[in-house]
């Protein structure tokens, strides 16, 4: 017979304003096994925890129920408190009367009734709880960072500096990511390459860092502390050890018609290429889809001109299998496709470009060598129009529901840079709101208006109308003047929404990390655990978690690194004791449980069984507790009812069902 204590938290007024907490405590005393019940203002506070601990000791409690916030919030807190008072932590159950009750109901009577029922279910469950002991698992002291942009680079550097081995897997031929495509950065107008390339060099030569470029994560298995990952190193067709990076092959390559990914398709590159001059590694790859040698068998120029003999047409993809203790996702973003926004004539006119394309146009290494010119005729523009919020803040199915966060600032940057370098160019920005929270951000935007004379018009653009003479007629609205505006422009720049890299969904699935409807990875807690995935051992760095600018990305990258280091610093991890367990007397060895187990945690042993005096040799299931993650698939599939899940046993869940339906 259990001796159960029930502790009802007011959570200030969060619970107490809608739930009669005293009544819940009073009702608890009527429940089976309950010998103690009390309510208190903040159970999670030190005083609250002391009350729990005192009651455990004084009343010899064998189990407790805390009626409070979500177990996702404070289950660990209360388990640890109970453990310090000598109670097995798995004898603690939480009744969630805040998120699932007081916060969503208004009527006190109704909410109190529900809270009582939730309390009863938890008491019914804890009556059947048994003490559980976590096992231990080892920690592989190596981290994997997926994505080699500024987020991944920073995370890798921080982990490596702490003395742990880190591998970066980058899909493209070079690390650097989106930041390498930017010309200048706000709010200080630093040259992007000038601040990024030193970091790229640093991470490249760090003794603890291994970089796999032109590579992708192919398979992930295992769990926190002990992941096993297959990395596909795509065939580069160039021997990385022999190549000196002289660049002759790229010069001589006769196939130069492929659109440059790095320059956003605004110009072309050769089939053998490095994305940009400062690429790391400075070793080209052959894009086999555009290479004549691979497509027609005739060519081989690069091989002939390579003094180092580094070209290797026979190279094959290579699979590298490595073990990791922690994985950081830093897969970044791309701009949305503008197929749904043809009213802005993006697909009709080469002079309508996205902001990222403008970065390339403004960049000295870009398609126009840094000269601001129209891509249609190479003429210098006199009138430029920027359109904000293209595809952001939409509740229709054309765009994204969120604010992309960086556009207001980079548009102010572009406007300012253009006015600075080309004072005779007029710049007009159509905006809905200018959002500039951030240190020195609003000042930056105001400088664009006040010092550089950028014309900000509050109102959206309805249509961009290409004219026969090549100009663009922009039809917008000025909401302050209440006028429709027709403005002739030479170039139009669209602040297209950003979205997570489309590959992230595949990666999230491999990692079993949660992802939201916008393809952003979900954090374990929006405020308190913003760089951790709910899946243990998976950490989030950069825009894969939500829109952010460079300073924010770098801080989050550091935070993710610290969390990963905290994990790697441990030698052993406690494993979840809520694992499956088979009753060998009931097991008939049918193998169905092993068939559904996603972890291969179930094996079979031939054992001598004493079944009520009858000794028999039987084949029975055995669960490896280190591998079992406790999903419970086997418990339902088991035809004989031998398999059960500790902590969520059939009897426990049935008791909860009974208590709710009582």
């Amino acid at each position: 017979m259990q001796r159960i204590g029930v502790f009802v938290c007011h959570c200030g007024t969060n619970i107490a304003a809608t739930v009669d907490v005293a009544k819940v405590a009073e009702m608890a005393l009527n429940e089976q096994g309950v010998v103690h019940a009390e309510d208190y203002q903040y159970m999670c506070s030190e005083a609250g925890q002391a009350k729990i601990q005192a009651a455990i000791k004084e009343k010899n409690l064998t189990g407790i129920v805390v009626c409070s916030c979500s177990p996702r919030m404070h289950e660990t807190t209360f388990r640890e408190a109970a453990e310090r008072a000598g109670l097995n932590p798995y004898m603690v159950e939480i009744a969630n009367i805040r998120e699932h009750c007081s916060w969503i109901h208004k009527d006190v009577e109704e909410a109190t009734k529900k809270a009582v029922i939730l309390m009863r279910a938890a008491v019914a469950k804890v009556n059947l709880n048994a003490p559980l002991k976590p096992g231990e698992s080892r920690v592989t002291k190596r981290a994997l960072v997926i994505g080699g942009g500024i987020a991944g680079i920073q995370t890798a550097l921080d982990i490596a500096d702490a003395g742990y081995k880190v591998d970066i897997v980058e899909k493209t031929p070079s690390i650097g990511g989106r930041m390498s495509q930017l010309d200048k950065t706000f709010p200080t107008l630093d040259c992007s390459a000038c601040i990024l390339t030193p970091k790229m060099v640093e991470v490249n030569k760090h003794e603890n860092v291994t970089i796999y470029t032109y590579s992708e994560v192919e398979k992930v298995s295992g769990f926190v502390g002990d992941f096993t990952v297959d990395i596909r190193k795509k065939a580069r067709s160039v021997d990385m050890d022999k190549c000196t990076g002289c660049g002759v092959c790229q010069e001589k390559c006769p196939s130069k018609k492929t659109l440059s990914e790095f320059n956003r398709g605004l110009n072309t590159r050769s089939a053998i290429y490095t994305p940009f001059a400062q690429a790391i590694p400075n070793v080209p790859v052959i894009d086999r889809d555009s290479c004549m040698k691979f497509q027609t068998g005739k060519c081989g120029v690069c091989s002939k001109v390579c003094q180092a003999g580094a070209i290797d047409y026979e190279q094959q993809d290579e699979i590298i299998t490595e073990k990791y203790g922690a994985i950081v996702v830093a897969t970044g973003f791309d701009m949305i496709k503008l197929d749904n926004y043809d009213e802005y004539a993006y697909s009709q006119s080469p002079d309508v470009i996205t902001s990222l394309e403008l970065e390339r146009v403004m960049n000295a290494a870009g398609p126009t060598k840094g000269h601001l010119e129209r891509l249609s005729d190479g003429k210098a523009p006199k009138e430029m129009v920027f359109i904000q919020c293209v595809g952001s803040r939409c509740s229709d199915d054309r765009g994204k529901s969120y604010c992309s966060k960086i556009c207001c600032m980079y548009t102010a940057k572009h406007a300012m840079l253009i006015r600075d370098k080309y004072p005779d160019v007029n710049v007009t920005v159509f905006y809905i709101d200018v959002r500039t929270p951030g240190k020195n951000f609003d000042e930056f935007y105001r400088r664009a208006v006040e010092d550089y004379g950028v014309n900000y018009i509050k109102g959206q653009v309805g249509k961009v109308i290409p004219q026969p003479d090549g100009k663009l007629l922009v039809r917008g609205v000025d909401l302050i003047d209440n006028k429709q505006i027709l403005k002739e422009a030479d170039m139009v720049v669209l602040a297209a929404a950003i979205e997570p890299n489309p590959d992230v969904r595949k990666i999230a699935t491999m990692l079993t990390a949660s992802i939201d409807t916008n393809n952003f990875l979900t954090e374990a807690h929006a405020k308190l655990r913003p760089v951790e995935s709910p899946t243990a051992g998976i950490f989030l760095s950069g825009v894969c978690q939500g829109p952010k600018d460079i300073p924010e990305t770098v801080s989050q990258a550091g935070a993710a690194a610290v969390k990963a280091i905290g994990l790697l610093a441990k030698d052993k991890l406690m494993t979840n004791p809520c694992t499956a367990h088979s009753d060998e007397l009931m097991c008939n060895g049918c193998s169905q449980c092993a068939n559904v187990c996603p972890y291969g945690a179930i094996s079979y042993e031939v054992k001598e069984i004493n079944d009520h005096g009858v000794r028999e040799t039987r084949r029975v299931a055995v669960v490896n507790n280190a591998l079992c993650q406790g999903c419970g698939a086997c418990t339902v599939t088991c035809p004989s009812g031998a398999m059960d899940l500790q902590g969520f046993s059939n009897r426990q869940i049935l008791a909860e069902v009974d208590a709710i339906c009582r």
Binding site: Y341, D342, Q348, P468, D469
Partner: protein, 265 residues
């Protein structure tokens, strides 16, 4: 292949040629337009109010008629297409309208948007296929530079009409290519001609049509084609026929070599 066909009032009167050329072309292309019996006027504009039922019933009747025959319903006039397609969408997706309309109609089997509504152009694109059409052209209109004028009603709201990309359509351009001519793409091709406003506010329509024709001419169009009698009226009237405006079916019939049958009939 047999289709139910809804011509609409205007095609029986001021726009007889739009209809006649379509029928002749259909025959030449090997499909048959079976006119719905006793059809009534669609009303010309789609009633936007969510509480409008009675004004949608004539469309429901036509749709149900096609359903009973087991045929898709072909329309030609942009306005009729717009109204019937949207009413069909209501019948399919808006429970309240479906229930109330069916209560009025007292059909043996309730109508729930089963009929497929196709514009004549969609049949050319999706059933006949523009490549096939090109093969059947006997009299290609080589060298003609033609601007397609879409207007509003075929394109918007795009989610319901599902006709083409409402901001950058290409079905008429593809059609123009298929009959051997050269399409002229100009940005005003999906802008409004003024619609019914020309009845009382001729000046507004004049401005709008002026923009359309100027833009088309500026990009080199020698003529405009349309599927809508009202667009044609506005474009002609408001711009003193600066550019010839003709129905796309007339060009189709010409390209297929059946224009004479109609003109001499």
């Amino acid at each position: 292949m047999k289709y139910s066909y809804y011509p609409g009032c205007t095609l029986k009167n001021k726009a007889k040629d739009l209809d006649a050329y379509a029928r002749a072309s259909a025959r030449a292309l090997g499909f048959e337009l079976e006119e719905i019996e006793n059809w009534q006027c669609c009303g010309g504009v789609y009633p936007l109010g969510s509480d409008e039922i009675a004004t949608k019933l004539s469309s429901v009747r036509v749709l149900n008629e096609a359903k009973e025959k087991g045929q898709s319903l072909i329309t030609l006039c942009s306005a009729c297409h717009h109204v019937i397609k949207r009413v069909n969408d209501d019948m399919k997706n808006v429970e309240d309208i479906r229930t109330r309309a069916n209560n009025y109609m007292q059909l043996e089997e309730p109508y729930a948007g089963e009929t497929e509504v196709l514009h004549f152009l969609e049949v050319l694109r999706d059933v006949v296929g523009f490549d096939k059409l090109r093969e059947k052209v006997t009299n290609p209109l080589t060298g003609k530079k033609i601007g397609a004028y879409y207007g509003c009603l075929l394109l918007r709201p795009g989610k319901i009409l599902e006709f083409d990309n409402p901001e950058n359509p290409k079905i008429l351009e593809d059609f123009i290519r298929a009959i051997g001519a050269e399409p002229v793409i100009y940005p005003y091709r999906n802008e409004c001609c003024g619609g019914y406003i020309s009845l009382k506010e001729g000046e507004i329509a004049k401005d709008m049509c002026g923009n359309i024709v100027d833009s088309a001419e500026g990009f080199g169009a020698q003529m405009l084609i349309t599927a809508c009698p009202l667009c044609m009226y506005n474009l002609k009237k408001s711009t003193d026929e600066a550019l010839p405006v003709i129905y796309f079916t007339e060009l189709l019939a010409e390209a297929l070599g059946v224009k004479g049958e109609v003109d001499n009939a």
